[in-house]
Subunit: 220 residues, 2 copies
DNA sequence: GTCCCCCTCTCCCTGACGGGCGAGGGGGAA
DNA sequence: TTCCCCCTCGCCCGTCAGGGAGAGGGGGAC
């Protein structure tokens, strides 16, 4: 971690590139270039000596011209020491699969926090993968060729009910009153729920609940 | 509050009626009847002596037959001591206006907590109105005939940014790191935000943010 | 009958959260 | 200039949230 990681940003939107650049320059990263398309990225790599090559390429998947997947493949072929991190907006089963098959080391969504992005990039240089949790689930599904249930399906009915209340913004006390439980019992459930969903606190659980449609329409 | 409030439930879905009944019987309410339509409700009221009339009618707006607004009007006319609380799924400007004009004392959404529903009903018997916050805003708009900005429009840019992070499930510490602020400063913002939005805590603020589209699409 | 899961509860401890207050600096508006 | 809003920070204090461990009862599965 002595010298800054050299990063190449590939995204077809100039504003996005600028945003990522600003974020990364804030930390200790060296932006060695930007590209607006896969072709451009590949060309940029081709014109560099092996000592001058980026450590990590941050790449969006949705771009005109050369398909991003193909770009990943060529980049990895031309410069095996360069790692590719996919940084995109949506997460789809096939895309994850293809990107990793093409040689990407990680798959992030643009909702990533600066701190996590930094960790992912530093890790990528060391060859450490970084996958969005949902991408991990999809991968697991592929590998085992069995459906891996989304975390909330492992909730018991009671936990599910409590999660619904959390998703409506209730405090533990309110939930306890609503369900005629002791507050301690509710706390017990919340802990189990956070654990199962892989979230850190009730706010994240609430967001998870609404995103996954676990809060009835009329209750929002 | 000595004797139980006498309640009539009006909703075209039997399941909903049952749900409300279960909730209310759990507390100290007396369900004096159910009706599946406005006509039925009006007829039910007509067949009762004034001593036998419900204190509060809980009524959905979306029902076949006699328009709910008209039903409210007739109920209020036939039995002025009976208060009508609208309990519906959606909230629309015109409906609020019309329901109140027809004599309703309150306007609730079905997302209401048991405890609040109970308070609204008890209050209604005393002639105390109960309006969903958004209904209050719409009303205010009508009365002043000036647009009343939704609460989040009064946020400063910085507060808005902090709310976005809250809407992504960040803790105060994470927000501080993300924005290069002290945790104390972030706490200050969160308090102001909760105050402006009229919410109790960060979970409710996060839910508010996503519901009102304050968290960028790609950040969810 | 036994086992295991689910539901419920309790106690304790730490840290995070949220309210209230004050305070300084910067910039725009009157 | 003066005033006010915004941004930033600090401190105190009470409450809430979350982790951990343990424990009892009920009911279904085997």
């Amino acid at each position: 971690m002595s010298e800054p990681v050299r990063v190449l940003i590939v995204d077809d939107h100039q504003i996005v590139r600028q945003g990522i650049r600003a974020v990364l320059e804030d930390e200790d990263f060296e932006i060695v270039g930007e590209a607006g398309s896969g072709d451009e990225a590949v060309a940029l790599l081709a014109g560099r000596s092996s000592a001058d090559v980026p450590d990590v390429v941050l790449m969006d998947l949705v771009m005109p011209g050369l398909p991003a997947i193909e770009a990943i493949r060529r980049i990895r072929q031309a410069s095996p020491s360069t790692q590719v991190l996919v940084l995109t907006t949506f997460l789809e089963d096939r895309q994850v699969q293809e990107a990793l098959a093409a040689g990407a080391i990680g798959f992030l969504l643009k909702d990533v926090l600066k701190s996590d992005l930094a960790r992912a990039i530093r890790g990528a240089r060391q060859g450490r993968p970084w996958l969005h949790p949902e991408a991990q689930r999809l991968l697991m599904q592929r590998v085992t060729s069995r459906p891996v249930p989304p975390p909330h399906e492992t909730l018991t009915p009671r936990e599910r009910t409590v999660l619904e209340l959390i998703g409506r913004g209730c405090s533990n006390k309110q939930i306890a009153a609503e369900l005629h439980l002791s507050e301690g019992t509710v706390k017990g459930y919340t802990s189990l729920i956070f654990d199962k969903l892989g979230v850190a606190d009730r706010t994240q659980a609430a967001l998870y609940a609404v995103r996954n449609g676990l809060v009835p329409e009329s209750e929002r």
